[in-house]
């Protein structure tokens, strides 16, 4: 008994461990103060009524949660978040896969093509979103002009002006940013698959699509899971695109959970509502992050 307590103490407090704590201390202190404490504070805030200066005025228990969770707009925002994330990740995935397959074909100039494909991800999100605002401009924007001039769509909508088209337009910008990540991950995965596998499959008469489904996809399985999880987190969290393009409008049609946290707080000055949404969002994101971390960790330590 005495020996085990002693060894535990030694394990906790030997020169090597002390050095480790010292090296970790600054990061932990900063994280504690600017990340962990703010999380706790949001939880506390969600249990209080707040005034317009975000001061806590009265403890109300779960009343804010009841208030929000029975609110129609909350569920609309939650539903939009689900659609936003599911459709967004799905389309990014498909585009990414197609691009990866294309880039895996050997031809002159594919390195240049690869660099060009990365640009939407490599650019600054807020700044390229501003560019999209101009692209979408109903009267002077070149998107609608090009659609009309080429005859692809003779009567395109004023994209950001109407609920459905605004949602689609915002989603497309988010998708556009997220495609290159999938493409790069899948391409790297494909290039790690030994060429001999394809060659022997080809001898057996399984080229093309069969080769893709029997060799490429299974070979990418882990990467598909991990990149989809990451992309889901990013997509769900995309505040910048919506805030810059529409601020959740028109008529709240692009209001998703993550943007409503900000809008409730800084625009409506309902900090208690914002806190409730933040807590809900926190739980959703934590679940996905745990799955990501679990999966990544297991693979790394295998």
């Amino acid at each position: 008994m005495a020996a085990t307590t002693l060894s535990l103490k030694q394990r906790l407090w030997n020169p090597e461990a002390r050095l480790a704590y010292a090296l970790l201390a600054p990061t932990i202190v900063f994280l504690a103060f600017f990340m962990f404490y703010p999380i706790i504070y949001v939880f506390v805030m969600s249990l209080y009524r707040t005034n317009q200066l975000s001061e806590l005025t009265k403890f109300v228990g779960l009343a804010n949660f009841v208030d929000r969770l029975t609110d129609h707009e909350f569920w609309m925002a939650a539903m939009r978040s689900v659609i936003w994330t599911a459709c967004g990740v799905g389309v990014k995935f498909l585009f990414g896969m197609v691009i990866a397959v294309l880039l895996n074909v050997k031809y002159r100039g594919r390195k240049a093509a690869r660099l060009l494909f990365i640009i939407p991800w490599a650019s600054s999100v807020p700044i390229s979103t501003l560019l999209w605002q101009w692209v979408y401009h109903p009267e002077f924007g070149l998107l609608n002009h090009t659609l009309k001039a080429t005859g692809l769509w003779t009567n395109p909508p004023a994209w950001l002006g109407y609920p459905t088209s605004a949602f689609v337009a915002c989603m497309w910008v988010d998708i556009w940013i997220g495609i290159p990540f999938f493409a790069l991950v899948f391409l790297a995965g494909m290039q790690a698959i030994p060429q001999e596998l394809y060659e022997s499959a080809h001898m057996d008469g399984a080229g093309g699509w069969r080769g893709y489904f029997s060799i490429t996809l299974p070979g990418l399985r882990d990467l598909i899971l991990i990149s989809t999880l990451l992309s889901a987190i990013w997509t769900f969290n995309d505040f910048n695109v919506i805030f810059i393009l529409t601020r959740g409008g028109p008529a709240l049609s692009t209001n998703i959970l993550i943007t409503s946290v900000y809008m409730n707080g800084f625009i409506d000055l309902r900090f208690d509502w914002a806190a409730v949404q933040a807590v809900v969002t926190f739980f959703v994101l934590t679940i996905v992050s745990v799955i990501y971390a679990q999966f990544y960790f297991r693979r790394e330590t295998d």
Partner: protein
Amino acid sequence: MRWENRPRFIAIPLTVIILLLLLFPFFVMVSTMLKSGQDVYSSPPFWIPTHIEWSNFVMVWTQYRLATYFLASLIIAVGATLLNTALCVPAAYAVARLRFVGRKFALYLLLMIEMFSPVIVIISLFKIVAQIGLLDSYAALIILDALFTVAFNTWMMNGYFRTIPKDIEEAALIDGCTRVQTMTRIMLPIAVPGLVTVMIYAFIFSWNEFLFALSFISSKDKMPLTIALYNFVGRWTTQWQYLTLAAFLAIIPVLVLFYLIEKRLVAGLAGGAVKG
């Protein structure tokens, strides 16, 4: 014939089509940025400017004071990068090389908070930043920008430290070096590619950061590029030729930096199977 040689005649045209689609906003940017105001606001719009308005280059630096915003972005990004590196390198060394209770938990936690969204805590951060008197200061942005990449960068740096054979370090320890000396004189020089990667990542993140700057910066002189450009967009009078030119100039630095790290970034995000 190799399996992958056949579909070339499909792949190239398809690549071109998708590229045209994905690069569309950048074509618009290039088309707009050297147009005259009259060309920008002509209906129907057109792609090729009637004449190249070189004076736009002068206007963005003089009337739009782009240099002020570039400088602000640079101060914030450099500050955040330095703070981030100072935090993540020692922490990464600890989790990569030292034995201590809670090491696994620390690694796990890093992965967990790697993708944490700042929006969730923005309302409480606002109060905290106000309380410590850092509203409308570079310091607030430097600290927060550095902090929200620290988990990912510690994780990345941990990966680099681990690829270094333990023997090198052990030999130095036997020769009488202290742990801190082996870290700074032996490990760090070998891990320079990793160090460059995390520094560039921290820089890019801060350069592109929008939410903190939007929430905490109010004076015009302190605005970084992202917020300054966002504020250029007025309801009626947005001069898109200047805005697109400013966007072009603001994107170039991060684009170049991103190309330097993209492979290692993807490897760090997706883990084991992808090598940087």
